[in-house]
Amino acid sequence: MATMTLLGAINHTLEQQMEKDETVVVYGEDAGFEGGVFRVTAGLQKKFGKDRVFDTPIAEAAILGSGVGMAINGLRPVAELQFSGFMFPGYNQIATHIARMRNRSRGKYSLPMVIRMPYGGGVRALEHHSESLETLFAHIPGLKLVIPSTPYDAKGLLTAAIKDNDPVVYFEPKKIYRAFKQEVPEEEYEVEIGKARVVKEGSDVTVVSWGAMMRETLKAVESLKDEDISIEVIDLRTIAPMDSETVVESVKKTGRFLVAHEAVKTLGIGAELISRVNEGAFFHLEAQPVRVTSPDITVPLPKGEHHFMIDAKRIAHEIKKLANFE
């Protein structure tokens, strides 16, 4: 066991998987020689050479499209996009090919590939560096999307993603890249893709979150510890496939549901969760489900971001309101 940051756990997992499987390759803009702008891939090129760890031209369609070809021809590509806001020029490959090659070829070609990208706000960044774009992946059939909120899950989910024979999009909550450390086993292990984690059991309110907002949620819950509210906290952790079962079962117990996410409100993951909670636990609901999200506006530049990002205080406020609703 070693203690690692979330970023450290990703680096360690990439190294471990590259060691175990010679077909794993890691690449992206600046991902090779310098180890990425966040240094997530630091040290890998030195260890595994330029063929397996390499810098690409600035060309997201080529990064993702070449991944399709590599995966078809015997590699397990792990592509890095520098920021999730720069996935757009490569989105064509994601939606029209990566999500579809298995189905299109009726199983002849599968795509064991991972697409990593840092996402999310609250880091005083420039435009297009702060978005939370879960919906754009979770809405596309054929894709999987996972988001760790802890170093332990970061390793387990990444290991599972690399071993998956289908494409997995792996969001990295950059706000908490180095926020805290956790014990992470040295040996290989997987966290099942498609399984949410009940972080804390409770009986009054179900609160679901993930990624960097999981931290805010936990802070919110902590701040409410003197209130008489028993909160069940779920880390959704894999957005697609969505583990509605765990969420629905929880709501059946609590009767109250709140989701907290960074993405904008309209058609954010919260919308889908509420629909599934309706479909699975409608008559258990004692109050209307609550979405704590960013508003439907463009992420502001840093001097306005405080009006946009949700935080522990806001989440706590809404949990309290929901719990006290009669």
């Binding site: 070809g69 590599m70 078809i72 090659m101 298995r102 070829s105």
Partner: protein, 362 residues
């Protein structure tokens, strides 16, 4: 040595045969054994016959719209004949002839344009990617396959096709450039059939030739008579040599013409003059190659008649087989989206089956 002789800026066109099938460039006439020559020819004719029949079937409402290949057979058969079995074909959407030569079956081909994904499940060891609809995106797939071939030392070379119109797309740029950066074993063939649906080649780009776009990527580019199967073979041979030697990609502009409509939904008479089509019928790549073979005494009228008869039957029989498959089953639709179907999708499938049961007779 070979490519250095051709300056794409000069607009010279590489060719071996004239339009009557006579060799006009003896020193570059490729040395191909007779069996291969005949196989090339027969595949060209198969593609042609299949195409003509498919147009008929489509007009009768028995097939989907599709992208006819007529007129472009040489640009597709030459490169495939020059390649090895292990080499890859990454098509756009008008490469029926190339696919047939490379090992896709006529049944698969028809099944696809009949509207069934099974048509893209090629046989084991047949290195073809499915028909690719989003223009340009296939070039990046080809680059990735080539990258894997290179670092896994597989010795495979990747052929990929795109149209003249497709060269204006960003993905073309990114893919060909990517190939250049890593010296990948990748050969990009632009079939310049002079139109992108109704849009003439001049509206796609101001460049004088499309071959000259190679200069932007620091790789060789060559303009070839795309209706001359031997020229296409010869140039591919040299491009393959480069690729196998680790010298990197090549860009080939095959100057050709689509004799038919863009797809069966298209009416080319809106944007093309009859005379132009007539003129290009005189340069028909199949006719030219047949004359070459006839001159070589490898072919004659009787053989042609027999072949036509045989292929028409093969094609008709195949279509019958395909047509029998009809609409396909529910499992096909659901079961190939993931290796293991996620729980929520399983639930959706069950719900749908329930609905089918509940609603029977409604």
């Amino acid at each position: 040595m070979f490519f250095e002789k051709y300056d794409p800026l000069k607009k010279e066109m590489f060719s071996v045969l004239d339009k009557d099938g006579k060799v006009i460039n003896k020193e570059e006439e490729p040395d191909i054994d007779n069996d291969t020559l005949l196989h090339m020819y027969k595949t060209m004719v198969l593609a042609r016959v299949a195409d003509i029949k498919a147009l008929q079937y489509q007009r009768q409402g028995r097939m989907l719209t599709f992208a006819p290949v007529q007129g472009q057979e040489a640009a597709q058969i030459g490169p495939m004949a020059a390649s090895d079995k292990k080499d890859w074909l990454v098509p756009a959407f008008r490469e029926a002839a190339a696919m047939l030569y490379k090992g896709a079956t006529l049944k698969q081909n028809y099944l696809y344009w009949f509207g069934n994904e099974r048509g893209s499940h090629f046989d084991e060891g047949v290195n073809i990617l499915p028909v690719n609809v989003p223009i340009g995106s296939q070039i990046n797939h080809a680059a990735g396959i080539a990258y894997a071939s290179k670092i896994l030392k597989k010795g495979e070379v990747v052929f990929t096709y795109i149209g003249d119109g497709g060269t204006s797309h960003g993905e073309f740029h990114e893919g060909v450039n990517f190939g250049g950066v890593y010296d990948l074993p990748m050969i990009t063939i632009i079939q310049n059939n002079q139109y992108a649906i109704s849009t003439p080649r001049a509206q796609a780009t101001k460049a004088d030739t499309l071959a000259q776009k190679a200069i932007a990527y620091g790789i060789p580019g060559i303009l070839v008579d795309g209706n001359d199967v031997l020229a296409m073979y010869r140039v591919s041979q040299e491009a393959l040599k480069r690729a196998r030697a680790g010298e990197g990609p090549t860009l080939i502009e095959a100057f050709t013409y689509r004799l038919g409509p863009h797809t069966t939904s298209d009416d080319p008479s809106i944007y093309r003059k009859d005379e132009e089509v007539e003129e290009w019928k005189q340069k028909d790549p199949v006719d030219r190659f047949r004359k070459y073979l006839t001159n070589k005494k490898l072919w004659n009228k009787d053989k042609e008649e027999a072949l036509q008869k045989e292929l028409k039957k093969v094609v008709a029989d195949t279509f019958k087989e395909v047509e029998k498959t009809g609409q396909y089953e529910l499992d096909e639709v659901y079961d190939y989206n993931y290796e293991t179907m996620p729980k929520d999708l399983k639930k959706q499938k069950e719900d749908y089956l329930n609905y089918l049961k509940e609603s029977e007779g409604e």
